[in-house]
């Protein structure tokens, strides 16, 4: 794309990579947490629920700061993980972590709503046919909530594509490594006359996210039709 400079191009590719992995890795956790919140009654439930929503409520900068304190090289979790070779600080993986955490509440909510819409009577039917709980989940619940998972995943992806505050605070902006599209947009907006360049990048991210949304509509509708049984 001659339209984008090499640095912008690499920011786009990085944003895609970050958002993709943020979504893919956090989705299973999202499904698990959504299921726990939807179907189980346990003492820590309100706390878990609150925790999940925290990134939504907090200004992103605060989330980024908390991430830095926790997952930074000196942070309690970060230093532990560093011993097994997992480093987030200043890596694209950190950007993915930040994006994933910011997108998490959105995914969980979408998936949770779709789980709550599954008639427990069908799950009971699965149990009477000999399927243990986890397999009932895999064979009945999961396929039925697929549209919700797809919707939640794409929503998370879109959110991850737009995430900025937490990412830059946590992993800063290193061209080629952690400089995502929104960071680039932000940088352009800081200097007088940077608007056209920013606009160009904004259009790129809109196109990408809209593409994802359209895709999710199509895939989601097909999945829903499958579930509705037509």
């Amino acid at each position: 794309m001659g339209w984008l400079g090499p640095e912008e191009w690499s920011a786009l590719m990085l944003s895609l990579r970050v958002s993709f992995w943020a979504t893919v890795v956090s989705l299973p956790f999202g499904v698990f947490v959504a299921y726990a919140l939807a179907r189980w009654r346990f003492p820590g439930r309100p706390i878990l629920n609150g925790l999940v929503h925290l990134p939504l409520i907090l200004p992103p900068v605060v989330t980024g700061y908390l991430l830095l304190m926790t997952f930074g090289t000196q942070g309690p979790v970060g230093s532990l993980l560093a011993q097994v070779g997992i480093v987030f600080a200043f890596r694209w993986t950190g950007a993915a972590l930040a994006a994933g955490i910011m997108a998490f509440p959105l995914m969980v909510r979408a998936i949770r709503l779709s789980i709550e819409a599954v008639d427990p009577k069908l799950e009971q039917a699965g149990a009477t046919l000999g399927a243990p709980r986890p397999l009932v989940f895999l064979t009945v619940t999961l396929p039925m909530i697929l549209p919700g998972i797809i919707a939640g995943g794409i929503l998370g992806f879109a959110k991850a594509m737009g995430e900025f505050g937490a990412t830059i605070t946590f992993v800063s902006n290193i061209p080629g490594q952690t400089q995502t599209l929104p960071s680039a947009v932000y940088a352009f907006l800081q200097v007088p006359g940077g608007e056209p360049a920013a606009l160009r990048l904004v259009i790129v991210s809109i196109v990408v996210a809209m593409g994802a949304l359209l895709l999710s509509e199509v895939v989601g509708r097909r999945a829903a039709a499958r579930v509705a049984g037509t």
């Binding site: 980024g64 200043f90 505050g165 800063s172 902006n173 290193i174 932000y186 907006l189 200097v191 007088p192």
Partner: protein, 235 residues
Amino acid sequence: RASADEVLVFAAASLKTALDRIAAEFGAASGHEVTVSYAGSSVLARQIQLGAPAHLFLSANREWMDVLEADGRIDPGTRVDLLGNSLVLIGGPNADPVETMGPGFDLMARLGGGRLAMALVDAVPAGIYGKAALEHFGLWAKVKDSVAQTDNVRAALALVASGAAPLGIVYASDAMAEGRVQVIGRFPAGSHPPIVYPAAAIVNGPAAALEFLAFLQGDAAQDVFLEQGFTLPGE
């Protein structure tokens, strides 16, 4: 005395501590009420461009003031360079001081594979000045791939404070109150373009705005700024 007026000031966020105190003093002394909206200079400048009801603008850099001047949104006669600042190299609590900040300084060795935290080097003033200083000493080319850029200088400070980055370049005023970092070197004034915080009144403002602008240049106000680590322009 003229009736009490309300003055709305748009100011760079880094001025908050000092300006809050000065505005309170001015309010007590004059009877006018000063309200300050703190945000990034670029945001404020755009808002003023698009008709924000501000009366005074305190910018963290010259470019945005120039833009407003060109647009005719400020009264050029009132524009002053209100404050200055200096650039420092910071490190963790155990970092050794730099003996001579100059071309011979082996910044890469001091980073030891870690990152140098700075504000965005092409967009945010502190980053722009820092990059200029490093270029001045011929260090930029070597270090540029090790720089971690943040959206504002406070975030760069936080990277060093949290230990994520061993070194960072920030304003002296920022480094002052953070216990987890220490200044290990100072960039001489000549190594980068002068760091200036210009101030000006927006066109068609109330007289009280000019009064406050004058008050900002008075001794009482200047003392507060100095106390917060700012310098006076031209120093």
